[in-house]
Symmetry: C2
Subunit: 350 residues, 2 copies
């Protein structure tokens, strides 16, 4: 049976930021983003460098919100979709923060928050950060073809988000930063479950939602089998970027196996964009999707007390351009974190 790791004490997400491009700004969550660059370029000369700069901006905003300096951060866990995760490397070297580089495709956000929580729960580390980025135009030309090519996309295809999410984590018993005074609650990681690779036998790179949906099924069933919780204990069960195709598979299976979970389901890939917009097709994807939806939408609701407990599973599709060309199926993975809103003792009513 899978194991849940219960943290010795909850790890608070004391600050977060979401940064995005034009399409993200125009979506229903645009108002929750901390910064939008309608040019998608963030002042850089290549899309690859634009992604790195977007990550830097997101991290700086998250640090400023909790009145932290980069020197206060003991470790950052970061990842992206560029080959060799080079967007994270180019984004972060000037900060000088010790780095754990991860690759989990679109599961990066949950994977990095999970690891940051683990690294804070042991040793003398006090503050950690997590950063996830993806950029539509860097990803499209790397995984598929340059957008100038104008390739057709089938209805199951998703739209890679130009978005970054940054998170500052701290031991919950040491919430000393000023940024915490504004809200009655602080979202915290209570427990987590590491994801398993699941082969759903999908070989179509334009149908990643289906490929990931089986991993989401696996993790949600395993979480409720291994933990003391029922879906009733959660306000939401949030998947990463299954989109409409993957979400409908997930719902169909859970309706049979764990019907209580079905009404709690929501998917970041379905809420980032107006789904009626041209070209969105099955929804948003890219690891920036779940990172920016968490930072712009879920965590703010938790801070205000509108959500109490959330099971959050970013979902990753593990494949490369060459693995698809060689005919290998896409492996899915869905690590899970249990976020819980804890009372903010530093809250000052204005």
């Amino acid at each position: 049976m899978r194991k849940i790791t219960v943290l010795p004490s909850p790890i608070a997400i004391v600050s977060s930021s979401a940064v995005g491009g034009k399409e993200e700004g125009e979506g229903p969550l645009g108002g929750g983003f901390d910064l939008i660059d309608p040019s998608d370029s963030f002042g850089q000369s290549t899309w690859e460098l634009s992604e790195a700069e977007m990550g830097r901006v997101a991290l700086n905003i998250a640090l400023r919100k909790c009145e932290c300096s980069h020197e206060d951060v003991d470790v950052i866990v970061a990842g992206d979709l560029q080959n060799q995760c080079v967007a994270s490397a180019l984004a972060l070297d000037s900060f000088g923060i010790p780095l754990i580089g991860v690759y989990g495709a679109c599961s990066t956000c949950t994977e990095s928050i999970l690891l940051a929580s683990a690294l804070l729960s042991m040793g003398s580390n006090q503050t950690a950060a997590a950063l996830t980025t993806s950029h539509n135009l860097a990803a499209e030309r790397q995984f598929r073809a340059p957008t100038e090519y104008g390739g057709q996309r089938p209805p199951s295809a998703q739209w890679t988000a130009t978005a970054a999410g940054a998170f500052i984590l701290s031991k919950a018993d040491k919430l000393v930063t000023n940024g915490n005074k504004s809200y009655p609650y602080v979202p915290a990681v209570k427990d987590f479950m590491i994801g398993r690779l699941i082969d759903g036998a999908i070989k179509d790179g334009a149908n990643m939602g289906a490929a990931m949906s089986f991993a989401a099924v696996d993790s949600i069933l395993a979480y409720f089998e291994a933990s003391e919780y029922s879906p009733k204990d959660f306000d939401l069960i949030v998947t990463g970027d299954l989109g409409s195709v993957g979400s409908s598979i997930l719902k169909d299976v859970l309706f049979e196996k764990l019907p209580l979970a079905v009404p709690k389901l929501t998917d970041c890939g379905l809420v980032l964009y107006d789904m009626k917009r041209k070209d969105v097709h099955s929804g948003a994807s890219g690891c920036g999707t779940s990172a920016s939806v968490l930072a712009s939408h879920i965590l703010p609701m938790m801070r205000k007390g509108e959500l109490s407990d959330v099971l959050f599973l970013s979902t990753g599709a593990l494949m490369s351009q060459s693995s698809l060309l060689q005919g290998n199926s896409i492996r899915g993975i869905a690590p899970a974190i249990h976020l819980s809103a804890i009372k903010n003792d530093n809250y000052e009513v204005k």
Copy 2:
């Protein structure tokens, strides 16, 4: 100042395996490898799948050595050099072990052992694994050009190893497996330090040793500044794959700043191959280098009691084909683990 994470109790590396190809088998450490495939193909139809199969074989051998099943392993931390780390994904899905996917370029071995130790030091996990692979022929055509092209390589270039290293880790107070009876000592992770990104302003993808050497300098100096130890407390300070160019930079700087460390230095990139062999140039590279040298050479010496304390720093060069073509410099990183030989209470003298 950088922080050392001292583990609450040492995490034992109860088993390890090294698997490689033709060149690795013919090198000075060939006899220490558990399996060599002189065809480099491991029975697969593409080099990318060969790397995945090599990883599977390495993990299975390591599990068998400590009489473990994959079902006993609570988490595996794994990484490789293929785009989107797809070698690890293709290798591991059939095992069903919860996976943390990492990307640290050639620092993957140290990064993954460090994280596996951290994840064992908290929660209820009892056994973890770490797996690192690289394959010369998969890497060459991805990062540079297919070898059939016959491109010239400058003297600073290194030879990407076709090699895998697998490690099984366990809480040292629960060494219950039979594989531990054969040796008087068990190597264990005592403490670790996460690496920082260092930009050495090297933009030449055929000179990764120089690019990584500055990160090795940074981590070695930081480790001895932050820890209670002196280089005298270590039998060896082992870097990953600086090769002859990078190692000579490291020695020059340490000769000025920490001369006590110089006589302890050794580099995995200098010991995997016969350095007089044609085409090796500056030495071995690829994340399989430090993983296989650790498994085939360093850990066996520790088990016999020939080495007591080793500071082990796999060194990574963070770059991609497109980041180099766009003129960005390579970022180096060098996480460090302190390995210490602890007495094996289960040792049975034959």
